[in-house]
Assembly symmetry: C2
Homo-oligomer: 409 residues x 2
């Protein structure tokens, strides 16, 4: 199946917001085995929108629109969809009931123009919106389908997952099942090399690799007659994949590294403290993004100056003098000192050169030492991160800190 | 002048990357007084690209493309541009010399297919690319202009600023000058209300307001016969604007709040330490994003637990017991304790409830206290932030901390 994605919204043409909807939908459609041929963005221009939908239907079977479902005169997506696929808008009572109820609960009277949002194409499958006011829908004629979703990303992704995705799955006799395997510590090209024996000659399940900043992912997908067959094919292949790259895998369910690390700490009730130099609080900030982390996160120290390292963590002046602030010895003393001060089960430390200044021939920008004190032992990892930018170095450093937590507990 | 933006890239249709180029170009073009009518994204499909350019030229004078200027067979943007505007590709010797020199300096022999990148439309204005290998260009015929830029955002924005923007400015007899005024502590609608007396009846300079997350901006623009006239009109209007909203302005040159706050500290050599609870290191992390901040940033403490607040900062058990960890009293004791420990000139503290859990009727999620100890005095600001999300509350809290630094020094 071939598809096109059309975004409706003047704010996009003004450049006030970045269009994240199309990237999200493109990826999701590709995962469902649906090709995306093009993206199109238009403002409040019904004529252009109509032309574009007609043009898309010349070589696509599916057109997905986002936006233009609001209550104002400008919002014309539904009207245009009806014009193109020969239908008319009729009152959809359940949508009206829901809208009126929503306003009533909010203690407000529903403005008259919100009624417009309850009028849907007569032959359409209506998609209830439990995250906003605008319902969406899918309308089909002679094998051509137009699906209209609301514009706000939260409402759009919610409706896609709950309504449009199952709708699209129902159109196919085949069942697609996939898993996204996340890895750390191996680049995309090396990942591909390692997986060559399983990738070669493979038609189903398919294996594809993806690069993210500082990590790589593997998608294993299968299309079969039943969901059970597809699942079993994917899970069988996953066991094969693990034989080659098992040591790098941190999630088989598309989780973020920080969620996996924080989840482990919380599950096992392991308390955590951190002492950061070059990352300057970024590690603590990422960790404390996780709701509920306060149960195990005790404290973080950002010891930027040498004085702070000595005073807060008891790093010795001799160590700083002899090996430098950026050294394995300092990282170790930071982690051990943090353990003395906080008593936390897991104490992680980091010191390095994030740049742009501060590098030397011996310790260029991107030299980082991560220390970890856990169960009476202190571990240290030396990193030499590519000097792409200060931001990049700090990001990769935090990924390594999370990976160390993951690996050690 | 009306324009369309066309993005070329299969990776966009796969959803592997979010298209930030179009938002950037749309905003920049709008700032130059050029309307953007639509965005279009296509993969390696020359026929569609050609159709789309022709369709765009039906009601636009300017088409800007990004991507498809690479060395491979798939990269067809230049060929299509020539087809549409009746030109042919010829060797552009300066581009070839630059490419060969670049490879030589890198110690590599230039692959044969990179020669393709030095062939440009014969009548075009060639845009040198000092951030990559693909030159860009602008080609005109009968008042229709196509401008082709490389796809990687870093190369694209660099070429836009250095080459395409001046080219577009040169097409107009008028000069456009604008300033972006950044404010904090006032919403977009209130900003508009306050500025009504200067906005009303104003044709040049024009005044437009923009909302960003947690802050608002005002753009003052003027289009005149000379740049001096335009500048003087904008600067005159800025003085007017200051009379109404001066107290909220933190930058008249589109700077970020964190850059302004960090700049002040560095300029004046004021040392800084921070003690964070609900923001969990986010403030320290933002501050230490700034290169060179190590000259004034001493240390940050993330005192998540009550024990850490007492032990690291000397907050009294009575205060925590009587007023709670989230209270003005605790924020004050944190800032003062931090000053005792660190001796830093400016000591800022924060404690609050970022949610989703932890709220009470008296102190709902979003209740935050910021403390600041500076020049022997301790200040406190109470915030009641809308409970949109944990991320939002943490972001707005950090903005307020930066604003306090800005206001106090």
């Amino acid at each position: 199946m071939k598809s096109a994605i059309l975004s409706v919204g003047t704010e996009l043409l003004f450049g006030q917001v970045v269009n994240t909807n199309t990237a999200y939908l493109s990826q999701q459609l590709n995962f469902l085995g649906i090709d995306v041929m093009y993206h199109y963005t238009v403002g409040d221009n019904p004529q252009r929108l109509k032309e574009m939908i007609e043009m898309a239907f010349e070589d696509c079977d599916l057109v997905i629109t986002t936006g233009g479902l609001g209550p104002t005169q400008d919002d014309m997506t539904k009207e245009i969809a009806c014009e193109v696929l020969g239908d008319e808008l009729v009152l959809h009572q359940p949508s009206l009931d829901y809208l009126e109820d929503m306003f009533r609960k909010g203690g407000r009277v529903m403005p008259e123009n919100n009624r417009k949002q309850a009028y849907m194409p007569s032959r359409s499958v209506v998609f209830h919106n439990d995250a906003g006011t605008a319902p969406g829908f899918a309308l089909e004629q002679n094998g051509k389908i137009i699906a209209c979703l609301p514009g706000p990303p939260r409402e759009m992704t919610n409706m896609f997952q709950k309504k449009l995705k199952p709708y699209l799955e129902s159109l196919s006799d085949d069942c697609i099942y996939y898993r996204m395997i996340r890895t750390f510590g191996i680049g995309e090209s090396q990942l591909e090399m390692e997986l060559l024996p399983v990738i070669n000659g493979q038609t189903d399940p398919t294996i594809a690799t993806y690069a993210k900043e500082g990590e790589s992912a593997v998608r294993i997908a299968s299309k079969r007659k039943t969901m059970e067959e597809a699942q079993s094919a994917v899970d069988g292949m996953l066991e094969e994949v693990k034989k080659y790259i098992g040591e790098y895998i941190y999630s088989c369910d598309d989780e973020e590294l920080v969620d996996v690390a924080a989840g482990k700490l919380m599950d096992k009730g392991i308390t955590l403290s951190c002492a950061e130099s070059c990352t300057g609080g970024l590690f603590a900030s990422r960790m404390t993004d996780i709701a509920g982390i306060s149960a195990v996160f005790d404290r973080g120290l950002v010891t930027y100056s040498n004085e702070a390292k000595m005073q807060e963590l008891g790093v010795s002046a001799e160590t700083l003098d002899k090996f430098g602030a950026v050294s394995e010895e300092t990282a170790r003393e930071m982690a051990e000192g943090l353990h003395r001060v906080s008593g936390s089960d897991f104490c992680i430390s980091v010191t390095g050169i994030a740049g742009p200044g501060g590098g030397t021939e011996e310790k260029p920008v991107g030299t980082v030492f991560v220390g970890a004190h856990y169960k009476g032992e202190t571990h240290c990892r030396k990193l030499q991160i590519r000097n792409i930018s200060r931001k990049y170095i700090r990001h990769i450093t935090v990924m390594n800190m999370l990976d160390m937590i993951n690996k050690l507990i």
